[in-house]
C-alpha cells in the first residue's frame, strides 16, 4: 500500500480503461480507497461498476491503466482471501454443492481451518442450511453466502458488489451495520450500489461513475453540499394569487432565485429564512408557509448521473399492446411545463404509470434560465473533472 499525504491508499486505480470490442465500459478511471471508511461506489446500471470491480480483482485485464490492492496487483497477492474478501455475484456458486462445502473449498484454498467456516456461517446466519445444496437458496440467502465467503479470511480489504440485492429489510439493516462495523475496525470497505439512498446511510465517502467515467470523488457531506442547495419553501394564501406575484418580485429583487412550484408554492434560494420573512413583511404579503429544506443525496445523484444513464426507462404507454396506437393515449401533454424543474428540486411526485425520474425531456440543461442559477445557489462543484456538470 502506498502512504502519501492523502493517507493510506488500499485500492488505487490509475487511468483504468476497459474496452469490449467497440464498447468502452470504463474509461480513464483514477481513484483510491482509504481504510477505516465505507467507500460507496455509485453509478447507474451499466455504468461500469462491476467491470471496475472485476479489474480490481484481476478477473478482467484492463485495456489500459492499472489497479493495485494493498500496493500490488491483485494477481500477485500471496494469499488473497487473507487480504482481500470479495462478494461479486451471489449466484457465482456451484448450485450442486452445499453451502458449507462451498465455503470449505474456499477456506482450504488459503489454508484457513475448517472451524472458521462454521464461524462465518454463524456470522451470516446460515448455520441451519449449511448442509443444503445452494441451488435451493433464495437470492437473499445467496447474498449471505457470498458475504460469508468474503469474510472467511478476516481480510483487510473488502469489496462488495451490490450486497443488498435481494435482501429483506432486516437483512439490509444487517449488511449496513456490518459494513460500518468492518470499517470502524480499520478495514477498507468498498461497496458498489446503484441506490443512493442506501449509500447515504452507509457510506462515508462516495465515488460516482457514469458511463465508465469518474463523475465525483468526495466525502458524502461534501457531495451533498457540492451538489445540492438549501432552499426555502414559501406559500402565500391560495385565495390571492396576486400576492404570490408580488412576493416573487420582491424576493427576486433582493437577489433570490425564485421558482414557482406546481402546487402554488415558491422555492426560494439564496436568501436566509429571516430575510425572506422580512421581505414578505415589507411587501405586505401574508405567508401560509415558510420552511427550510435541503435537497437530498438522491436528488444530487440523479442530477449528476442524468446525462450518464445508459438504460433510461420510457413511459409505459402500453401502445405496444394496442392494435392501433391511439393518439390521445399516454401522459397528458400539459405535464411538460413542469419538467424543467426536475433536476434542481425534488422530483415531482410519481404519476401513475410513470417513472418519476424518467419524464421525457428531463434534461436540466435544456432551458437556459434555471441552469444559470445553479452555481449561484450552490457552491461551485469541487471536482473540475466532472464532465456532466451543467453548463
Amino acid at each position: 500500500m502506498t502512504r502519501s499525504r492523502w493517507g493510506w491508499r488500499m485500492i488505487e486505480a490509475v487511468g483504468l480503461t476497459k474496452r469490449y470490442g467497440a464498447k468502452t465500459a470504463v474509461y480513464n478511471l483514477s481513484f483510491h480507497v482509504r481504510p477505516g471508511a465505507v467507500t460507496g461506489f455509485l453509478g447507474p446500471n451499466g455504468a461500469g461498476k462491476s467491470t471496475t470491480m472485476r479489474m480490481i480483482l484481476g478477473l478482467d485485464n484492463p485495456t489500459a491503466g492499472s489497479v493495485t490492492v494493498g500496493g500490488q496487483p491483485f494477481r500477485q497477492t500471496p494469499n488473497a482471501p487473507r487480504q482481500v474478501g470479495a462478494l461479486l455475484d451471489a449466484k457465482a456458486v456451484h448450485g450442486g454443492r452445499s453451502a458449507r462445502n462451498h465455503l470449505l473449498s474456499l477456506a482450504q484454498l488459503s489454508g484457513i481451518p475448517a472451524r472458521r467456516v462454521d464461524e462465518v456461517l454463524g456470522v451470516v446466519g446460515l448455520q441451519e442450511v449449511a448442509k443444503k445444496r445452494s441451488k435451493g437458496f433464495s437470492l437473499g440467502m445467496g447474498q449471505r453466502l457470498g458475504i460469508a465467503a468474503a469474510l472467511l479470511g478476516d481480510p483487510q480489504v473488502l469489496l462488495f458488489d451490490e450486497p443488498v440485492n435481494g435482501l429483506d429489510p432486516e437483512g439490509i439493516l444487517w449488511v449496513r451495520n456490518l459494513m460500518k462495523q468492518l470499517a470502524s475496525e480499520g478495514r477498507t470497505v468498498f461497496v458498489s450500489s446503484h441506490l443512493m439512498s442506501e449509500m447515504a446511510v452507509t457510506a462515508d465517502h462516495l465515488i460516482v461513475i457514469g458511463r465508465g467515467q469518474l463523475l465525483s470523488d468526495m466525502s458524502v457531506r461534501d457531495f451533498i453540499s457540492a451538489n445540492s442547495a438549501d432552499f426555502a419553501r414559501v406559500r402565500t394564501p391560495d385565495t390571492e394569487p396576486q400576492l404570490r406575484e408580488k412576493l416573487s418580485a420582491a424576493l427576486s429583487e433582493a437577489g433570490a432565485h425564485v421558482v414557482p412550484e406546481p402546487d402554488g408554492g415558491l422555492r426560494v434560494m439564496g436568501l436566509p429564512l429571516p430575510r425572506i420573512s422580512d421581505l414578505a413583511h415589507g411587501a405586505d404579503v401574508r405567508l401560509w408557509e415558510l420552511s427550510p429544506h435541503q435537497a437530498s443525496l438522491e436528488e444530487a445523484y440523479m442530477r449528476m448521473t442524468q446525462g450518464a444513464v445508459d438504460y433510461r426507462s420510457t413511459t409505459d404507454q402500453k401502445a405496444g399492446l394496442m392494435q392501433q396506437p391511439q393518439p390521445g393515449y399516454g401522459p397528458p401533454a400539459q405535464q411538460v411545463p413542469d419538467v424543467p424543474q426536475q433536476g434542481w428540486y425534488a422530483p415531482p411526485p410519481p404519476q401513475p404509470g410513470q417513472h418519476p425520474y424518467a419524464a421525457p425531456a428531463a434534461d436540466p440543461r435544456l432551458p437556459a434560465g434555471p441552469a444559470a442559477a445553479v452555481p449561484a445557489a450552490a457552491p461551485a462543484p469541487a471536482d473540475p473533472t466532472k464532465p456532466e456538470d451543467p453548463r
Binding site: 484481476g58 462445502n101 484454498l109 488459503s110
Partner: protein, 275 residues
C-alpha cells in the same frame, strides 16, 4: 435526508488480522479442489456409471465366453475388459470436462479465481486431483475385473506384462485422456461444447477411416485406425486391430504428449483471458 456518520476515514488506523498470514501454496489448492470434486453429484454419478460399465460388461463377457465354451487361447483373457473400458472412457471424459467447465457454467470460477488469483495453481490443482482420482478408481476397477475374469474363464494365467499393461497402463491412459478433456473443457469453457469436441476427437479418425476403401489410401486408413483412441486403448490390451502402429506402452506416451500440449494451451489461455 443527510445522515450523520461516525466513521470518518482515519488514515493510519489500518486493520490487520490477529491470525498470522502465510502464503498460500499448491497444497492448499489441492485440498480445496478435492473438497470441490467430492462434493458434487456429477462426480459420484460419472464414476458410478463407469464402475457399472467396467464391472458389468467385463463380467458379462467373461461369463458369455465360459458358457459358450469358445476358445480364447489366441487372445489374452484380460483383453475382455476392453469394451467396458471403452465405454467407461466416456464417463472419464465427461467428468474431466465438467471439473473445469461447470465452474464456468455456474460462475463459480470468478469466486475461485478471486480466492486464488494465481490462476495456474488452480488448474494444476484440478489436474492433480482429477488425475489421482481417476487413476485410483480405474486401477481398482481394472484389477477387480481382471482378477474376476481370470477366475471365471480359468484358461491359463496372463503374463506380468499383460497384467501391468491392462491395469496400470489402462488406468494411466484413461487418467491422461481425462486430463485432455479437462484441458479442452478449460479452453472451451462450455460443458456441452467440450464434451462434443472430445467425442468428435474419438470418432473422427474412425469415421474417416470408414470411408477409405481404396488401396492407395490404405496406409492413411491404417494410420487413422491405429492411432484412434479406441485402438490405442486396445493396444494396451494387446488386441490391436492391426499389426503395425503403436505397440506395447507406446499409447501412453502418445496420450501423455497430447494431454501435455493441451494443458499447456489451457494454461496460456487461462492466464490471458478475462473470466
Amino acid at each position: 435526508m443527510t445522515t450523520p456518520y461516525q466513521h470518518q476515514g482515519a488514515p493510519g488506523a489500518v486493520y490487520s488480522s490477529p491470525i498470522p498470514i502465510r502464503r498460500a501454496h499448491l497444497g492448499d489448492a489441492i485440498a480445496s479442489e478435492w473438497t470441490k470434486i467430492r462434493s458434487v453429484r456429477s462426480t459420484i454419478w460419472t464414476l458410478s456409471v463407469m464402475a457399472l460399465l467396467l464391472v458389468g460388461i467385463g463380467l458379462a463377457v467373461a461369463a458369455a465366453i465360459t458358457t459358450s465354451d469358445a476358445n480364447v487361447e489366441d487372445q489374452p483373457i484380460l483383453s475382455l475388459g476392453f469394451f467396458g473400458v471403452l465405454l467407461g472412457s466416456l464417463c472419464v471424459m465427461t467428468l474431466g470436462v465438467l471439473t473445469v467447465a461447470s465452474e464456468y457454467g455456474t460462475g463459480m470460477i470468478r469466486t475461485t479465481l478471486t480466492a486464488c488469483p494465481t490462476r495456474g495453481r488452480v488448474l494444476t490443482a484440478k489436474a492433480i486431483v482429477f488425475f489421482a482420482l481417476v487413476f485410483t478408481v480405474t486401477l481398482a476397477l481394472t484389477l477387480f475385473v481382471g482378477v474376476a475374469q481370470v477366475a471365471i474363464i480359468d484358461q491359463g494365467s496372463p503374463t506380468t506384462q499383460e497384467w501391468l499393461r491392462s491395469t496400470l497402463g489402462v488406468s494411466l491412459y484413461l487418467a491422461l485422456l481425462g486430463l485432455l478433456s479437462l484441458a479442452v473443457g478449460s479452453m472451451i469453457r462450455h460443458s456441452a461444447g467440450a464434451i462434443t469436441i472430445m467425442i468428435g476427437l474419438v470418432l473422427l479418425p474412425l469415421v474417416m477411416a470408414m470411408f477409405m476403401f481404396t488401396e492407395s489410401l490404405s496406409w492413411l486408413q491404417d494410420a487413422l485406425l491405429e492411432y484412434s483412441i479406441p485402438s490405442q486403448l486396445g493396444v494396451l490390451y494387446d488386441n490391436s486391430v492391426t499389426q503395425s502402429g503403436p505397440m506395447g506402452w507406446e499409447p501412453l506416451w502418445i496420450m501423455l504428449g497430447i494431454a501435455a500440449v493441451a494443458l499447456g494451451a489451457a494454461y496460456t489461455m487461462l492466464n490471458s483471458r478475462d473470466v
